[in-house]
Symmetry: C2
Subunit: 484 residues, 2 copies
Amino acid sequence: MSLQAAARIKRGLTYCVNSWTCRTYCMKKEIIDGLRTVVGESNISTAMAVREQHGRDESMHSCRPPDVVVWPQSVDQVSKMAEMCYSNNVPIIPFGTGTGLEGGVSAVMGGVCFNMTRMDRILNLNAEDFHVTVEPGVTRKSLNNYIRDSGLWFPVDPGADASLCGMAATGASGTNAVRYGTMRENVINLEVVLPDGRILNTAGKDRRFRKTAAGYNLTSMFVGSEGTLGLITKASLRLHGIPEATVAAVCAFPSVQAAVDSTVQILQCGVPIARIEFLDDVMIDACNKFNGLNYPVLPTLFLEFHGTENGLKEQVQQTEEITQMNGGSDFTWAKDQEERNKLWTARHNAWYAALALRPGSRGYSTDVCVPISKLPEIIVETKKDLTESHLTGPIAGHVGDGNFHCIMVMNLADKNEVSRVKEFTNRLARRALAMNGTCTGEHGIGLGKRKLLEEEVGEVGIETMKQIKATLDPKNLMNPGKVV
Amino acid sequence: MSLQAAARIKRGLTYCVNSWTCRTYCMKKEIIDGLRTVVGESNISTAMAVREQHGRDESMHSCRPPDVVVWPQSVDQVSKMAEMCYSNNVPIIPFGTGTGLEGGVSAVMGGVCFNMTRMDRILNLNAEDFHVTVEPGVTRKSLNNYIRDSGLWFPVDPGADASLCGMAATGASGTNAVRYGTMRENVINLEVVLPDGRILNTAGKDRRFRKTAAGYNLTSMFVGSEGTLGLITKASLRLHGIPEATVAAVCAFPSVQAAVDSTVQILQCGVPIARIEFLDDVMIDACNKFNGLNYPVLPTLFLEFHGTENGLKEQVQQTEEITQMNGGSDFTWAKDQEERNKLWTARHNAWYAALALRPGSRGYSTDVCVPISKLPEIIVETKKDLTESHLTGPIAGHVGDGNFHCIMVMNLADKNEVSRVKEFTNRLARRALAMNGTCTGEHGIGLGKRKLLEEEVGEVGIETMKQIKATLDPKNLMNPGKVV
């Protein structure tokens, strides 16, 4: 018997009782029956197809299906089932939309996957207080559709139409972060079911102030904890006023340095730029081909400005002066909604555009973040590394935050290529670490970057994180095997 | 023997060896000698006058002097002395500028006060990355003087010229928070000496990215922890571009509701207002008298706009339209630096202006924060409560954040009045809690609001905070008796 199998049996798990074709060790029938009693017959599944759907995200980590999937309808159900898992030593894996990029939903030790999509109410919209509360089934786009008439919006935009509670759990950010911040700055309060079933409100029940100095910042501790400390069942979010006017533009540069210098100067001048996205020549080429566009194949910035009609004029004028001083091209404009959508669709399709470079390939998007002054150096070195490693990895990034992605495009059947990609992503992360950066600006640690996290935060840092994990999740049941 | 005395002796402390007049229990001579070996003769004191200076802040909590005060010169000295304290079970109390308002420096269990002011280097100023690192002796004003020529500034401004590491420890904010955020949003990384002397870099050594998704957010856990988890020995801060132009204005309103409605509408319109400060009629009257001004004695907003010359015109025009729609007076302008200084000096002198209402009195500034929509109701109720309680408590607040202060002015010799103030501040905090608010927006929990914190975050919240405290400070030596 394998060590893993022995460990599972010690936890009270036995061979699968559900299907004679199933070769994994599965959960005791009485635990599954207990869960069924809580959520009802139509909200639980042990079907292999369903479990496999829940055992992987959009990363290249292999599928590790949970033993059972449940769809709770209320926080009380989540609490009851967590308690059951706790007393039976069964792992819990929270699941939002499965759009993660670091294997966060992988059930590496089996257990119960909590699919949270059927808790999908939007509560307490309060326009005067710029505040709303959402359950975990509410996605970014569904919230913005719902609140549009209030004159408000929620700006954090990682590209995918992810669940907002999942975005809180992973500390998501994206294209608008340079102006509006990441989830860390926009989550006000969380309702969390702790591993033993107790319900915690990180800032106190129903509290929704803009700031507080009351006690330890539990909200920030759970934001970005990747489901390893508890199950988020509600998030209170800070909303922002929809800008009166929006305009977007594209500008090409003779070099990466010129694009980054422009970015730094735009920020130093206090232009409240809403989006400033970098695409390298390979990425632009891919976008051109995929979207039928014909931007110059050069390092490029996609820009977006939010403000009043008059304010925009000034923002744009200041920005254009800066980009032209740095040798940038004239702006290509996208003033109306349709043109803007086309531009940002091209940016958000970067993933598919990259995949289309090599039909039949799989993608893996890795990300790092460095001090903005180090961006030209790291991008130039990384492009050299890609060439030397014979790898395809177009670069797109949130340059105003010093954050960028290499979208690695590979043939999964080519073991040598896959292993070169793994080595490359580790080198990229270590290059970021050597430049005072972080091994992940927004994708998280998940399964793949645990070793890198240790290098990033050092011995005392990782010990402290492990202490927190052991304190809040003493049985290591919450999304085990991730982060620490 | 008192219980406290017994506990102190159990911790290895004995009667004072320094002075026959000292009636407190003091630390063993060999511990003091050990500390002296680390910092040198000129950086340690057991003189009662010095200890008393370090046993109180600007609150009305009574003086509780530490047994000894040390002035470390480096993180290694801090680490060595923390280790000594740890192995001898002696409490540690960090001390910055002593400008706290909730008794945070009070040595309620005796111990060693670490006065951090002699570690005062400014390190790694990097204008391209909007980044600087400061040691704990660097104050807000000294940093801004130092970096002025770089075109950058650090905007968090609690009024007092506090130490920046102290501001990080207490999660300070102030007048600019509505636009630039509080310490929580502007601290990038902290170097912290843990109770046992180990050195933690909350985001990893020398890291200074704008965002990260790597592991638990240790930085946010220490920001606002009020010295109860560790000693901050370095803070990496996010800087901002000095605005091209600044203009300030004053506007009076017929009612609190009109002033708050204006504020909400200004924010909803996306005016990037830099400061929006509310003063009630009593506060304005006090400011007029103290500063020789003659503003109308009405609910008033002090406003400040940052931007380009053109941008300001538009911000001001939008704001004026809104305030006039709400019955506000014409703006009184403060366009040049001197006029602006006069205006903000009046605001920052609010404390002294309040005290001058009753010469010879003592002040106590209490603060709460509520959802902005609840501000009119809580301010009206609070003013009624003040009248009914026969108390003087002018109100000033960071209205854009829903945060306000009552500056309680009282005769400390009048026990009945002091007790009425205490009851009033508890009622005020509970009123804020009942309106989904927090018992403190920026002053912290310290000694005085521990019971209120429990009410605010609930049973599971306080248990979780206690678990964190017990994990990181198992012997309860870091600033004991505060927060939890």
